[in-house]
């Protein structure tokens, strides 16, 4: 098993904002879109840097001050110096992004946050627990298993509101839980996990990404020292200077502290997230 420091390493500070162009933009599931971006030809950077699964970029609409703040997007895939992002159309920026045509420019800062080294997927059994578009954040890890021909070492539990929301095609053994019963198990992820316990109990590592209530709902079922939660807090900057995205965690001395999820996360081990799970403010 990996040590704590090797598992989640702090990334270097980004060197600048990269102007990128949208190369492809298409719907991938109900209300969810995939975009591929690559650096603008006029810029000094020709290829986007390599990334670790779990890392994200801050994207902004160039030359626009409304929306003012950039938004974090998990990097889903990389190919030929380009990045793929998958997002749910939800707020002010994504509503404009979905209307942006191919060739439009975006501002990109990243990769940001701590990621998971790819070697981590070379050993052991891995269980992926996704809620909605949170599945996209886990895709680079799942792809890594596929690349290593280790499909048998992975298992996916995927919660959605309805069938049309599922991002296909799912490359590992999986179970779906849907709120309306239109796909797989009719109900929520925690019930599905309880029902299928024998299918995941022997996993070495758990990766959880989805809406905060969903992540908190599965927390008590999983081993806290081998669970990695991909938090999705509102961020002001993404690189540590605004102190807006803090989460309460336990530090080495078991004190409750607020830490920046962009710098110390966005992935946290379950064992430090107890105060977050309990809704502590730590004032």
């Amino acid at each position: 098993m990996m040590t704590k420091s090797a598992l989640l390493e702090k990334p270097p500070t980004p060197q600048g904002m990269i102007e990128v162009r949208i190369i492809q933009s298409r719907p991938i599931a109900n209300n969810q879109w995939s975009i591929w971006v690559k650096p603008d030809e006029a810029g000094a950077i020709k290829e986007l840097p390599s990334f670790l699964p779990g890392q994200f970029c801050m994207l902004s609409l160039l030359d626009r001050v409304d929306p003012l703040i950039a938004r974090p997007f998990a990097i889903v895939d990389q190919d030929d110096g380009m990045y793929q992002f998958i997002y749910r159309v939800h707020g002010k920026l994504t509503h404009q992004l979905v209307k942006a045509s191919v060739g439009s420019k975006l501002g990109l800062v990243g990769p940001l946050g701590k990621g998971i080294p790819r070697e981590h997927l070379k050993k052991g059994k891995h269980c992926f627990i996704a809620g909605g578009v949170g599945y996209a954040s886990l895709m680079p890890l799942i792809q890594e298993l596929v690349k290593n021909k280790r499909e048998d070492a992975g298992r996916i539990f995927y919660g959605v509101r309805e069938d049309l929301e599922i991002i296909r095609k799912i490359p590992l053994a999986y179970d779906i839980a849907s709120d309306d019963g239109s796909a797989g198990f009719h109900g929520r992820l925690p019930e599905l996990l309880k029902k299928k316990e024998s299918d995941w109990k022997d996993s070495d590592w758990f990766y959880i990404c989805g809406p905060t209530p969903m992540m908190k709902a599965v927390y008590d079922l999983l081993p806290p020292d081998r669970s990695l939660y991909f938090l999705e807090e509102t961020m002001g900057c993404g690189f540590g200077i605004c102190i807006g995205c803090v989460v309460p965690i336990l530090n080495e001395k078991s004190e409750v502290k607020k830490v920046r999820s962009c710098i110390e996360g966005p992935i946290f081990k379950g064992e430090v997230l107890k105060p977050w799970k309990d809704g502590a403010w730590a004032l």
């Binding site: 902004s60 003012l68 900057c237 605004c242 607020k258 730590a282």
Partner: protein, 311 residues
Amino acid sequence: MGSVKSLPSIKLLESKVGSVEFKTPLLAASGTWAYGLEFLNHPLQKFLGGFVTKSLSVKSSEGNPMPRLYETESGMLNSIGLQNMGIDAFIQNVEPQLKAAKSSYVLSVYAQRVEDFKILAEKANACSAVAIEINISCPNIDKGGLEFSSDPKTTAEVVSQVKAAVKKPLWVKLSPNVTSISDIAVAAESAGADAISMINTLLGMSINIDSKKPWLGRKMGGLSGPAIRPVAIERVYRTYSKIKIPIVGMGGITSSRDVIEFLLAGATVVQIGTWNFRDPFCYEKMSEEIARYLQKNKFSSVQELIGLAHR
């Protein structure tokens, strides 16, 4: 990077606030540059005049409940609440790094009692900071926030006490959430302030119509961003004609045009705030564009712009 050569000359941008010199008039504002460590050795430092630290208090603080950020039209509400490591931890862990990097920084401090401001001022004397900025205008704390900058008499009291204890230039950061900011600025000047930083955020609130509750954990917060710039410009303009000490102008700057606007209104240098969250690398482009503007309009120094809108 490396475009210094293509500039008319970065020397045009050399600025001064009283006796303190900055290589450009572009400073990063308190609360938007943390403690300066994230970009300490970054190429952008060539164009950053300096930065103001996140406000430090006598004891560390965990700040306000989450959520602490909410975006509005061309603006942002925040209720961070001065989360900070405390002055002693700063002096022990951060200050040596800033000093070693020869960082040009202003130490921002806040307190809930005048005595604590004096303690902070004395500790600041041991730092390599080029000046101290007292934050008497944060809208996000229950005590010691706005009340120190809401009344000329109270402002004068805290400024004179700090002035007696501090050996560095004293900048006083004022709030726009008052009847007359220029009267407060006059009081601060008479009490010994060396510069006025203005404006802090505007107190604001936004409510989620689905949950029927305010978006921010603390309910209200400080509004920043381009939405407040015309308010800031008016306050700077109005205050410029009432005081002799320099004004450090800020409020919604996102471009070189905005910087020039503040200088014309009467600011000696500016601070860039919320925009750092979006583009912390903006300093190079802004410097180049201001230098070009100066050259095109036949100015030999950025300082010639200060207060020109008053003619």
